[in-house]
Amino acid sequence: MARIDVKALAKRMAKFFSVVVITYALLSAALFALMLQGPDRFAATMRYVPWPVFVVFPFKPLWKIARKGTHSVGEMAPDFALQTTDHSNTVQLSSFRGEKPVVLVFGSYT
């Protein structure tokens, strides 16, 4: 009956898991680097990435860091002057200062 070389088996297992961990870390880093590229490049690349990637890799925490943004709570909100969808009005955020709070909901249709 053949004897199992436990030491050699453990060594091979350790090597295998090391390769898996390093590959996982490198791919996660690549995903994070892609998130930092901005919406255009990120979206254009993600179209080729299979959806299971969202489950297998730590997408949510990486996304939270990558899209943290430059402004924090307590800082002055960047001013803007944007037209309404019906072009009936231009709204300047700073015009509300001293008057009332403003809720901004950023988004799109798709």
Partner: protein, 112 residues
């Protein structure tokens, strides 16, 4: 208080990154190529999603979206002094209206 939707660049268009869920919902659109197309898409967005408050169109340089890191969606509350009182996490995971509600209750204690 004032509510504004800020219509920004699309997240999942057919020519960039189609979301399979949108296929099921028949939300299938190519990315607007001009500010006129973006405005038209913004109008459609307001109607289809039943948005009841005014909607603003970000410019084609995406200035406001960049300033606020608003893509693909995000919630903010700006207080009376013009400071950021609430900044949700980046969407879609961070899109939590409860944070807006809690902040408004602090800013407007008389309005429940």
């Amino acid at each position: 208080m004032a509510f504004y939707a800020v219509y920004i660049r699309e997240a999942h268009t057919t020519d960039v990154w189609q979301d399979p869920d949108n296929l099921d919902d028949h939300v299938i659109f190519a990315a607007p190529k001009t500010i006129e197309e973006r405005t038209e898409m913004g109008r459609l967005c307001v109607v289809k999603l039943g948005i009841k408050f005014p909607a603003l169109i970000d410019n084609f340089q995406n200035t406001t979206e960049r300033d606020y890191t608003g893509w693909p969606d995000r919630l903010y509350v700006i207080d009376r002094d013009g400071r950021i009182a609430y900044k949700a996490g980046p969407g879609p995971f961070g899109f939590k209206p409860k944070g807006v509600q809690d902040t408004l209750e602090k800013l407007l204690p008389d309005v429940k």
